[in-house]
Symmetry: C2
Subunit: 519 residues, 2 copies
């Protein structure tokens, strides 16, 4: 029994002639997507790809991404999604480490693949999506057209691996978090129960790269008969145009995208009234931004928290908790990442593994069907991260009397200055409250006297002027003195992952490079 | 890990001071219900009840029913719900057959229990809910007050038994369908995903006996922070009054209750505008009634299909499919019981076990996490009903091109007259279209010439007059001639189960008794 494959196939039958996925002018019906994913599954099986083998995917958001995802599920292959903005070295590391036998890539990546092809030790089959001449690769369309579209459903059990997802890798090489079909089934249920509550009247717009968390919302919509709309590249204009044209009801954005929308001068020109659920995730949402978003779009926001090792969502802050004119307690909850979702347990514990009392800072630990079984071929790292069935996330947080979790920061991003612990997020929250500030990132830089000192890197609104001293004074007025930045650097943009996360490690490297040009 | 217990406990913490359950003027908070169920679990454990032992429950809808249900989950006891309208002999059979060690009963049942007490071979502990003097029983409140309210969570695995639910038993003795914690978790998810889509703003009204399908909706509402309102006895007036007073959003009714509502002259005097979801189930809904209900209440109806052996829901017809002014296809779907729900597979097969083509009649078979593991201590009956993981339901149906299932009738209710198969439900549908008819039941009676002949038993609207000949002529005009009733009997009411199902077996007994007074 392959429950996921069955659900895809069922949607192909139930909603056969309805539009399933949309990209620009291309539209495919449920029967077509189902049939084409059967064809791809058949083609890969015929090439000799066996159940359990890793299939790497390096594609921008496109219809073929969805077909490939579904083909992998149907054939029991293991998904290895590659983020579209990494370096060639990272790609070859991940593909080799996961021992992928197959690589499905888009024509835009042909150059990169040609460059690293010689290093890929395990890949036997290359599949090229789109026009191009990579003679070493099977053309995607050719593979499909040679196959029957009839149903494929290779038996899997819930404990079989579904995915190897490489973490951003803050230290050393990235690690591949292995999750099972059980995990996918459980997150599918949670999305349906709490995150998006999909009905077949919904239209979901995916703008974040499908390799990331946002991509996991396609399947819940497909199995419920809703429409999936894809956008290969986010811009406020393309987003608004698509929402208006396709009457989008649901989307999944990272905070940066919401900030860009709020700054977009033409926002009011579009009819976005169809939007009823905007899930935001992947990085902290400054409360000042959230307030503006609620004022602009109304009560349509849902926050989720999750990570590669415990796929989205683990915590969820529902619409009911996004209240602007509520009690003090309700307003405080705008800062929270929410509470445990259905079937997941989240605790905040001290170094000894005991629950911290409300208000104290501890580490978030998680258990549930969704968490990874471990890191691919890294037993030690696994043992460090999973203890007695609980995943240790490295995220520091507090919890209140009602179980709401407030994320303080990543443990590794904590700054220690003069013996004090400073969590950058707290400083960033204050900076975001200043009208001139669009985005802010706070890092620790070496300081001979204090060990580390607080530095802010800030993107300002073009039309505004604010000096370093003014901003530091603003922080001083709103924070304990030792937390205020010692220096502020103004930049045009912050380095970000494909998923819109601010890359603090990269930012630190850049800043330190400038600080110590010969270091 | 006891996932259900954890979810109950979590709701107790998350929504602690909010109202959880309401019965008349009595209100308990989430913390109280959680705490009191802990107390009961502790008391039973202290009495010596062990994990896996069956605990029988014989109560009208009351707050203690919910507490008992939750206590059983927390302690890993097996639920044995007894329908409140059975005979003493049936109770003692079920309790003995299931080898229950404990019986929790309401004061209204004291007489019955005293009567059968001597026959109950395995019951060691009696618990009496409410005032009364049954000296052999522990008083419920006394048990609770002696215990701590702190959390109880006995480890269970998903395969451990959760319930023994006795079927109505159409032939021979009732059979106990054993379902697991896995089944309960899966139906919990389905209720949340499709059937009721609960949010914490919801108010659920339970009017059908909690021993039946309707009682399974309490838990999904409790774990999501919604309010559960109980009504011990259904009447249109008490229903309307409660909906208005408690601003009820969601309820679960059997068709008979909806018919009674529609006939209720004071209906318009109440403000029922808070109702947004009415799930109906348990017996066929005549299309004529459904149309009136939609016209009266708007598009708030959801149909579900399920059975003791495969707990609700297996099939579901959502609001989107309750359309009065749609295409011919959409109108036809009003007759359907819907399509498979999330995680359940339903097929309609011929005698050889092959899927029937659209339009042909076959038997409904079901598989999924929700189906029973078997009948309690009845291996043969189990083997007859579960083959290769599929439950054979005995319900006959057709399926259309899009997977909608149309229930024709119970196989055993089929009438064979002159070699023709006649499904009573088809005849009943026609009778319901006649303005004078409130309810109709069609049965087969012995006929020397034809083997069986069709007989209708009809309840008419008090103010209307219709003759037997008129109604037969009406059927003749709307049915193939061999299907029309040969005779019609007018009665004041039809025999029904506690859950509102028309008891055809009993009806047949009565009618045959009258036909052959000395037989």
């Amino acid at each position: 029994m392959n429950k996921l494959a069955y659900m895809i196939n069922r949607a192909g039958r139930y909603y056969a002639k309805q539009t399933a996925v949309v990209l620009g002018d291309r539209r495919l019906t449920f029967a077509e997507v189902d049939g084409r994913s059967n064809q791809l599954a058949r083609a890969l099986i015929q090439l000799g790809v066996a159940k359990g083998e890793r299939v790497a995917i390096l594609l921008y958001n496109c219809l073929e991404y969805i077909e490939t995802d579904f083909a992998l599920i149907k054939a029991g292959f293991v998904r290895l999604p590659l983020s579209p903005r990494l370096s060639p070295g990272e790609y070859s590391y991940m593909i080799n480490n996961a021992e992928a036998s197959t690589l499905v890539f888009g024509r835009e990546f042909t150059g990169i693949i040609e460059q690293i092809k010689g290093e890929l030790e395990t890949v036997k089959h290359f599949v090229l999506v789109g026009e191009g001449d990579a003679c070493f690769a099977h053309p995607y369309d050719g593979l499909l057209s040679a196959q029957s579209a009839s149903s494929v459903c290779v038996d899997v059990c819930d404990d079989d691996p579904y995915q190897v997802l490489y973490t951003s890798g803050t230290t050393g090489w990235p690690k591949g978090a292995v999750t099972t079909f059980r995990s996918r089934l459980s997150t599918l249920a949670t999305v349906l129960i709490e995150e998006m509550r999909v009905t077949r009247n919904d239209v979901m717009l995916s703008v974040a790269p499908l390799a990331h968390g946002g991509g996991t919302k396609i399947l819940p919509h497909f199995v419920r008969g809703a429409v999936n709309v894809l956008l290969p590249k986010y811009s406020p204009e393309s987003f608004c145009r698509t929402v208006e044209k396709e009457r989008v009801t649901t989307t999944w954005l990272v905070p940066t995208m919401i900030i860009m929308l709020l700054e977009y001068p033409d926002l009011k020109k579009f009819d976005l009234s169809s939007l009823k659920t905007v899930v935001y995730a992947a990085s902290p949402m400054p409360v000042a931004t959230l307030r503006r978003a609620l004022e602009t779009f109304g009560n349509i926001f849902v926050q989720v928290y999750g990570l590669s090792e415990a796929p989205n969502p683990d915590l969820l802050l529902p619409k009911e908790d996004h209240i602007l004119d509520g009690t003090e307690q309700q307003l405080r909850r705008l800062q929270s990442a929410g509470r445990e979702v259905f079937g997941v347990r989240v605790r905040v514990v001290d170094a000894a593994g005991k629950d911290v009392p409300p208000g104290d800072i501890g580490e978030i630990i998680i258990t549930g069907d969704n968490i990874m079984t471990g890191y691919w071929k890294m037993l030690e790292a696994t043992a460090e991260n999973i203890r007695e069935g609980w995943l240790y996330t490295g995220d520091m947080a507090t919890v209140d009397e009602d179980g709401y979790v407030y994320i303080v920061d990543r443990r590794k991003d904590m700054i220690i200055s003069g013996g004090f612990n400073i969590y950058p997020r707290e400083v960033e929250e204050v900076l975001h409250r200043h009208l001139a500030v669009v985005e802010a990132a706070v890092i620790g830089v070496p300081d001979e006297l204090w060990g580390e000192s607080v530095k802010a890197v800030v993107v300002c609104r073009p039309e505004t002027k604010v000096s370093e001293d003014e901003l530091i004074a603003f922080c001083q007025a709103n924070l304990a003195s030792y937390k205020k930045p010692k220096s502020i650097e103004f930049v045009k943009e912050l380095p970000k992952s494909a998923n819109g996360k601010i890359l603090k490690r990269e930012l630190k490297k850049k800043v330190l490079g400038r600080l110590r040009p010969h270091g």
